[in-house]
Symmetry: C2
């Protein structure tokens, strides 16, 4: 019943070909998998380049991820440094450059398990915040790793609120130096990556003090370790912050400074400078710098949220057609678990979400590219909207994807809980994306400020940015759907989402105004509305995502069945959102209880439809077995064999039993060998 | 501003007394913390005993959990075996017995980090399923650890569906032995605890075959390792299944059997026996055995779900009054993060839930004690109801608590993500409780069968068990609340929950009947209703939990402010459930949109009320610092000092940098030591 592995991406293990239960799922896809992959990549040429990069990386043993589930924190760190250093050689050897088309696929091919990401941030901060002279001095050294940099902003007691940073940099006119200090423990730098064990330098953010006057937070280049023997420099205390839920490969560090002196030239001075006599000079606009930070949030959506979700879906869907449990029909063999409605409901909406978020990510990238062009023309009008977009979508997408990856893990039962499934590491890693680069709740509230402002402006008849013009068009009305099929119309559900978003934003804006008018102070009133504001922002982002998915489907070519299957997924994503957030739509009767029953019926119908294409839909994500690194998710579906094979390599099996001689033997050996 | 540590439970580190921000939270609790602790313990005497057990365990260095966040899987396993072996001595030394009042507190005091739990299951299965002769032979040996047992039921390809097990046991009349075999890889035993590296014996479940006829799954005692040198017995392949998301301390194992012979006497034969001539005899009722499995699910609710949630709440609440971030009011210092409404909303409902689940757990324990008495009188009438209770509540409580613990982790931002916070290990461990002892979705559907059956019976006027008589009293009606204060009436919200549960159960029963009447086959119809059935069961369990909380509050003494604060928590738990599942209540207009706004207003008001007592409410859980093992959650709130102190002990700091000599030095050392 079993053939040889048929796919170039299979690990090629001698495990006996493709599992027939998985093979049968691939026999009659309703669409062309290859075409869908090309769509996701943005064209066949990109697919070709991506595959070539993956092939080059995966065929190089230095980049191997074998045994990673058995490694200690120290071993993972060492491997990440090894890969980072080797990558430079590899790029040179392959002719890949930072501006070449291959570059963006390298991080994906390495699954992000590589050191010196903060070194990159170090370099970028110098490029953006440094003077030409500073760039000329530092960038070439950093590029060749002749020094290793980190970016020390966050402190033990201070995260998001930058003004609260406590590290000080006092200018000493006599010596033309800044004297940096960590005045108390909460001011210790804490979390910067690459700083715990690798970095020789760091861009350190500190409160600038000139002759007793504080000028706010500024960046300084500080050497922390010797380039000669890597010992800590005088006045420096630094180390690793210890074990985390994931990111073992990164040496997140701490740093304390005690009267550390750096020359005046080490303050990054593109936007402000301290002159020899202590005069503080500010120049130019920092707005492009805000744009850089904002763009970073968008950049992580794909790598740290959407791709991990795609991987988790691939693993869980493939496993769910190999795993059989309980009988669905009396007398038959045990059923594939994906044939249970509950399992479909646990997984298929997340497959749809992975596509939805892929398309919204494309939309955001386009938007930011346009934004960048405007900003280069010194037009900063789009900045508030871009900031709102990046904050809201970073928060919404990472939050959804983190929950969804965990749902995939749970849906795989006991085997999902084994590290060998690959799901736990996806799960613990994506959780961090909800916290870093802006904690999600704080980001939601950033977007909320924008939305409330725009709503007020729109209500007063003022012009607002294009993404929120819908706020001006508040229509009461009811949903016109008459039967369950009406809910498969994108206009119907997109309008429902729009209505819900407008209602939540307008009602919270009204509450805010009522509170202020009743005498509550502005900041207290804001705080009292924040739970509802977060709800409103989520509804707004959900609406934009659904609308963008529907518009994307509209534009797709009808060939190869792509448009049809994407339409199903768009419907599923939209109806899943209504089904799961029913209260939002029922609240003012826009959707009635009877209509909600229609939504439910259409939603459950769709599960059965999409079920047939479940495996081709995740195959189209086109992950290699080495990328997935999952005993449950491999292309050939040889789940049990692989679990067994991999388990045998575990140190719990390859090392002596550490408890036997000391604890067990004294108890057991008094008896005969056989009872 | 800082005094000496004031509490006997503080770790007594020389970190500088209680953090003043935390100390101030304890100054004016609205209730007596000590009285609340006694209530949770079920009386002051229990509190005294529990504290004595905790003290005895924690003062013994063999049970130390220091450095656990730095340990490898092998080290954790070794520590767990060491503790299990030492525990026997300790119990003897302290005069603790298995039937004594101290016993139930030992596992809690060890935080469950101890080996040989499956050894206990091994013994219990012999006690329940074995003949008197078997009990006499095996139990004394096991009690003294002269052998170590495991319980081998689950297979690589088979979990919940026991009939699907593939391991075979063929009776050989000639030798009076059973011959056990693993016919294929999916039949390999997989997951049994204590089996990977410790066990010498296992109760193995296999399909009994006598002269070619299959008699179904039966338990056999099989020796797997030598008592003399711990080597694997002939025909046995066994080992550890490798790394997991947590439970590193347990050697979950695999087991393959190849013509392994055990004597006829090794089939556990209380309920059925194979006679020497191959005659199969069944005797007695196995119903008490079902009761045992059912009771196990209830037993885990407290230890594996509610207590972990209480710990997570304690850590997150204490940290949230120490951590300050951003200004709530202009000109003031940065605010405690618990003063932000969003942070209150993230945490306080979970504190309320911890109390709600503690009380429902008490209710279930009482119910099961009564059930046990009835069953001993050979009255099995309560069994279906008990099974439904244990399945539904195990699933509902573990699912809620797993999400809530994760919410606590996320609410602590970056520092919550450090293993040193204690939250990641709580989070990854509790996730497993959603899977083991019955995967939650399957359990929900078990309860669904019971509810649908009872609903049909009630509709037809037949008598039903007491917990579901409410299904017979379907009243259409509307919620009578007129303002937000009306929603602080337990009658009002309990009725809303009851209405919602009845509506969901009755509408799903109707859908099921409609499908069957329209010609869909019964099992297909059931499958098509399962997503909604799960919703219905959740609503049922939620209703019972709210009702029980309200009734508990009713009975509390009014002294010491206990009843008042518990009433607030009950209100919060109930309104949080309505706020978060608004669609369920709005669907048929039982609660109108305007009333939902009242719910929201009352819910948000309550957050501000309970905020004041947040720290005393978690202090009442009465965890020692050693139990919490959290740098963020200690009684003295010295968060930053402890993070720094603990991080320095990490192997990433105590061991040489593994990457420096090999990878970094060749790059860096070409330059001067100082740039």
């Amino acid at each position: 019943t079993e053939g040889a592995p048929t796919h170039k991406y299979s690990q090629g293990s001698a495990l006996g070909g493709v599992n027939p239960d998985l093979a049968s799922e691939r026999q009659t896809p309703s669409f062309s998998v290859e075409k869908l992959t090309a769509l996701l990549d943005g064209g066949e040429e990109n697919t070709r380049i991506r595959r070539a990069v993956v092939e080059a990386i995966e065929s190089d043993p230095v980049f191997s991820r074998e045994n990673q589930y058995f490694q200690s924190q120290n071993e993972k760190y060492e491997a990440a440094v090894r890969k980072a250093v080797h990558l430079q050689k590899k790029m040179h050897e392959m002719g890949w450059t930072e501006n070449g088309p291959e570059f963006k696929y390298i991080y994906r091919a390495l699954s992000g398990e590589v050191a010196f990401l903060l070194h990159t941030v170090f370099m970028r901060s110098i490029s953006v915040l440094g003077s030409d002279k500073q760039i000329t001095k530092w960038i070439p050294l950093a590029t060749q790793y002749q020094l290793i940099g980190s970016y020390a902003q966050t402190e033990l007691g201070h995260g998001t609120y930058l003004q609260g940073l406590e590290t000080t940099a006092v200018f000493d006119i006599a010596t033309q130096e800044f004297i940096l200090n960590t005045p108390k423990i909460s001011a210790m730098k804490w979390w910067p990556g690459d700083m715990g064990r690798s970095a020789t330098h760091a861009v350190v953010f500190a409160q600038l003090d000139i002759q007793g006057k504080c000028y706010g937070v500024h960046p300084f280049i500080v050497q922390i370790r010797s380039l000669w023997d890597h010992s800590l420099c005088p006045g420096i205390t630094a180390g690793d912050i210890g074990p985390k839920m994931n990111f073992d490969h990164i040496d997140n560090g701490y740093l304390m400074l005690q009267n550390v002196r750096v020359p005046r030239e080490n303050m990054l001075s593109k936007f402000c400078e301290v002159q020899p006599d202590g005069t503080y000079v500010r120049r130019g606009s920092q707005q492009i710098n805000y744009f850089t930070m904002t763009a970073l949030r968008v950049a992580l959506i794909s790598h740290e949220a959407v791709i991990p979700l795609m991987k988790a879906c691939t693993i869980a869907i493939r496993y769910s057609v190999v795993r059989r449990q309980s009988k669905l029909k009396p007398g038959e063999e045990e059923a594939k678990i994906l044939d249970f409605q509950t399992q479909q409901e646990k997984l298929l909406p997340h497959v749809a979400a992975a596509y939805a978020f892929h398309f919204i990510n494309n939309y955001l990238e386009d938007l930011f590219n346009r934004g960048y062009e405007e900003i280069q023309r010194e037009n900063f009008d789009m900045l508030p909207e871009l900031h709102a977009f990046s904050s809201g979508f970073k928060a919404m997408v990472t939050q959804y994807c983190a929950s969804a990856v965990e749902a995939c893990l749970r849906a795989c039962g006991g085997h999902g809980y084994s590290l060998l499934s690959g799901l736990p590491s996806l799960c613990t890693r994506i959780l961090a994306s909800c916290i870093y680069e802006g904690e999600n709740t704080i980001l939601f509230l950033q977007t909320a400020r924008f939305l409330i402002k725009c709503f007020m402006a729109a209500s007063a008849g003022h012009p607002v940015p294009p993404s929120v013009t819908y706020l001006a068009a508040v229509k009461p009305g009811k949903c016109p759907a008459k039967n369950k099929f009406d809910f498969l119309s994108p206009d119907t559900y997109t309008e429902a989402y729009q209505h819900a978003a407008v209602r939540l934003i307008s009602s919270t804006a009204a509450k805010l105004q009522d509170l202020i008018q009743s005498g509550v102070k502005k900041h207290d009133a804001w705080n009292e509305c924040t739970v509802q504001l977060v709800q409103a922002v989520k509804a707004h982002c959900h609406y934009i995502t659904v609308k963008n998915f529907a518009e994307t489907v509209e534009r797709l070519e009808t060939k190869g069945g792509i448009q049809r299957i994407m339409k199903h997924l768009c419907d599923l994503f939209a109806l899943h959102g209504i089904f799961s957030n029913a209260g939002v739509f029922l609240h003012d009767g826009y959707i009635s209880g009877a209509q909600m029953d229609m939504v439910t019926a259409s939603y459950l119908d769709l599960l059965a439809v999409i079920r047939k294409d479940a495996v081709p839909l995740v195959d189209a994500f086109d992950f290699t077995d080495k990328t997935l690194n999952s005993a449950l998710g491999s292309y050939d579906g040889q789940v049990y064999q692989r679990l067994y094979e991999w388990a045998q390599k575990s140190p719990t099996n390859t090392q002596m039993n550490p408890a036997y001689e000391r604890y067990l033997k004294p108890l057991l050996h008094k008896k005969l060998s056989k009872l």
